[in-house]
Each structure stands twice: as C-alpha cells, then as structure tokens.
Symmetry: C2
Subunit: 103 residues, 2 copies
C-alpha cells in the first residue's frame, strides 16, 4: 500500500479558501467526524463509529485534510486525526463552530 507511506500533504492555512472549507463541511459524515474531534479529541480513522465502506471513509478524511480542516499523521498502523481548529479560527473566526452547531 504505497499510499500508506507517501507523505501526507496539508495545505498552508493561508491558502485555504472559504469555498474549500464550505464544500468540505457540506456533508453530514464529514461534520460528524469533525464534531467527534472537537468533543473527544484526536483519534485514529477507525474509531468514528461510522458504518460506511472503508473507501468512502478514506475519501471523506482525504477531503477534510485537503480542505485544510484536519491534520493527519501515522502512528504505527494507525492514521491519527486532529482538527486544525486554532488555525481555522484565526482565519475564519467562528465559522467551524457555527457550522457544527447547525445540525
């Protein structure tokens, strides 16, 4: 699995646009992932209680990472996730919180 060992790319927060963030947030599964990161902290991909196919889940995490919403890194066999909340709040004050509170 080459993908497992290629470095994970993360956009600089200055390059993240409102459009990127809103498109990434316009999905209930992705909002569920972010909400769990807010309430329960950093965690590996397999622990979000989502009954979706692994490929679908992988797509959602990638969409969140490429939009600048989460940071991912590998710890052994686990892929960890953290919300980039401080950076996002500095760039788009209150935006993530307002969206996550909306449903």
């Amino acid at each position: 699995m080459l993908g497992r060992w290629t470095p994970l790319s993360h956009p600089d927060i200055a390059d993240v646009t409102v459009d990127d963030v809103l498109r990434a947030l316009a999905d209930p599964t992705r909002r569920h992932i972010l909400r769990l990161l807010v309430t329960e902290g950093d965690r590996p991909c397999g622990t979000f209680g989502l009954s979706v196919a692994p490929s679908t889940l992988s797509h959602h995490f990638r969409a969140l990472r490429e939009a600048g919403l989460i940071r991912q890194w590998d710890e052994g066999r686990k892929r960890m996730n953290t919300l980039r909340l401080d950076e996002l709040d500095a760039r788009f004050p209150g935006l993530v919180a307002a969206v996550l509170a909306a449903d």
Copy 2:
C-alpha cells in the same frame, strides 16, 4: 419568457438542510450577493454590480433561492431579492453571519 411568469418556488425553512446552505454559500459570487442584501437591503437582480453573463447570474440567484437563502418576487419588470435572514438565523444560529464574515 415563460420562466418570468411561472410562480417562484421557495422551500419551507424547515426543509432547508445545512448541506443545501453550505453548498449555496461555497461560491464568492453568491456570497457577494448575500452580503449586499445584508448591508444595503432588498434590491433587484440587475443591481449587484457583477460583471458576469446574465445566464450565470440567473443561475446564482436560482441556486440561492432553491437553497432557501433568498426570497424573490417580481415587481413589474424587476425581480426583487431579499435575504431570509430571520428564518435562517432561527434555524442555523449565526451560520450566515459567520460565513459572510469569512472573506
């Protein structure tokens, strides 16, 4: 122009989803339209200072209306627009303001 005289449909605010709102907001032209409605009040379609093709503009207004963000009505030859801010704020508190403040 049949479209001019067919009744304009507006979703009930209870049927508007977060996904609808975020997808509609994920576009700078549409945010510009909403921002002008917030700051300068109700106004006809032709007065938003946008240098885009009429068909493109029409598409954006329709996307905003179908997502539940604006209400439109005809006054003579003008199509008027108002932001459904009270309804949106009751359903998604602070969401529209946070998005419009983001860029």
